[in-house]
C-alpha cells in the first residue's frame, strides 16, 4: 500500500509553526504527516505496545490540532511534541501492571581495590554484522532496552536512537546537560553488559555445536 511521502511538498517546521500560530488551518494534514512517525516510534520504544502507541499518536495529534496555535515558541516546536509524547506514553505505562525492574547498579561495571574490572571482557564488536538482522538479536536488544529504568531509557532513546543533541534532550526533559550525559553513560553501560552476556552465551552455544 502506498502512502504519501511526508517529505515531499510539505512545509518546513518553521513555516508550519508560523501557519499554526496564525490560525492557518490548512496545515494540519501536513503537521500530521511531519510528526506522526516521530510520535509513534518514540511512543513504541517507550511502551513496546502497538495499540498504546497508536492511542498516544492520536492523543498527541489531537493536542497539536487543538492547541498548536497557542504554542509560545520558547523552545523548539519539536521539543514540545516530544515532551507531550513522552508524557502521554508514561500515562499508558502507569495504567499497566508494573513489571519488576532490574537495578541498574547491579549491572554497572564492578572493580577490585586496585581499580581493575572483575568482568572478564570479551571483544565481540567485530562479530556483530552477521547477527545484526537476526530476530533473536533484535529481541534481545529490545528486551535489554525495556529493562532500563525509565530515567535512563528515555535519555537513551532521545539521544542515541533519535539522535537529538544533549542540549535538546535536556530541554525536553527539563534536566541539566550533565544529568543527560550521566544517564546516557549509565544506560550504555547497562546495555553493553546485557549484550555482552548475550554474545557470550551465543558464542558458547556455537562452540558446543
Amino acid at each position: 500500500m502506498e502512502f504519501p511521502d511526508p517529505t515531499k511538498g510539505t512545509l518546513t517546521e518553521e513555516q508550519l509553526v508560523k501557519d499554526l500560530q496564525a490560525g492557518e488551518m490548512g496545515s494540519f494534514e501536513q503537521l500530521a504527516n511531519l510528526y506522526q512517525k516521530k510520535i509513534y516510534t518514540l511512543s513504541f520504544n517507550l511502551t513496546r505496545n502497538i495499540s498504546d502507541s497508536q492511542d498516544v499518536t492520536q492523543e498527541v495529534l489531537l493536542i497539536l490540532f487543538r492547541k498548536g496555535h497557542t504554542f509560545q515558541g520558547k523552545s523548539a516546536f519539536s521539543s514540545w511534541v516530544y515532551r507531550i509524547t513522552i508524557n502521554a506514553s508514561y500515562m499508558k505505562l502507569r495504567s499497566r501492571k508494573k513489571e519488576p525492574k532490574v537495578s541498574i547498579e547491579d549491572v554497572l561495571p564492578a572493580f577490585n581495590q586496585g581499580g581493575f574490572q572483575y568482568e572478564k571482557i570479551q571483544d565481540w564488536s567485530e562479530n556483530t554484522e552477521s547477527l545484526l538482522f537476526g530476530n533473536e538479536t533484535r529481541n534481545i536488544i529490545q528486551k535489554a532496552v525495556d529493562l532500563l529504568p525509565d530515567k535512563e531509557k528515555v535519555v537513551f532513546i532521545l539521544r542515541d536512537v533519535e539522535g537529538l543533541s544533549s542540549n535538546k534532550v535536556g530541554n525536553i526533559l527539563e534536566i541539566s546537560i550533565p544529568a543527560v550525559k550521566s544517564r546516557l553513560h549509565r544506560a550504555r553501560l547497562f546495555l553493553r553488559k546485557k549484550l555482552s552476556n548475550y554474545f557470550w552465551e551465543y558464542k558458547a552455544r556455537k562452540e558446543r555445536k
Binding site: G26, T41, I50, F65, R66, D123, W124, S125, D160, L189
Partner: protein
C-alpha cells in the same frame, strides 16, 4: 597511570571529544597497556550502534497508518 575504573568514567567524554588533552593522553596511555579496556570501548561503541540500528527500524505498521489517516481526516479542524 589511571586505573580501569577511572578509564570507564572518562569514556563518555572521550568518545564525545570533550576530554582535556591531559586526560586524553592519560586514557590513551592506559589503553596501550590494557587490552580489556580496549575491548570495553569497542563493545561500548558497538552497543550504541546495534541498539540504534535495531530501534530505528520500528516503522508504523500499515494497519496503524490506515487508522491514523482516518483519525486525521475525521479530527483535523475545518479549513477556514
Amino acid at each position: 597511570m589511571i586505573c580501569c575504573k577511572e578509564c570507564i568514567e572518562l569514556l563518555y567524554s572521550y568518545l564525545e571529544g570533550e576530554l582535556s588533552a591531559e586526560n586524553e593522553t592519560a586514557l590513551e596511555d592506559h589503553f596501550a597497556d590494557c587490552p580489556p579496556c580496549i575491548a570495553f570501548v569497542n563493545t561500548y561503541r558497538s552497543t550504541t550502534l546495534l541498539c540504534k540500528n535495531t530501534l530505528k527500524t520500528n516503522d508504523i505498521p500499515d494497519t496503524v497508518k490506515i487508522k491514523l489517516k482516518e483519525f486525521v481526516d475525521k479530527n483535523k479542524p475545518d479549513v477556514l
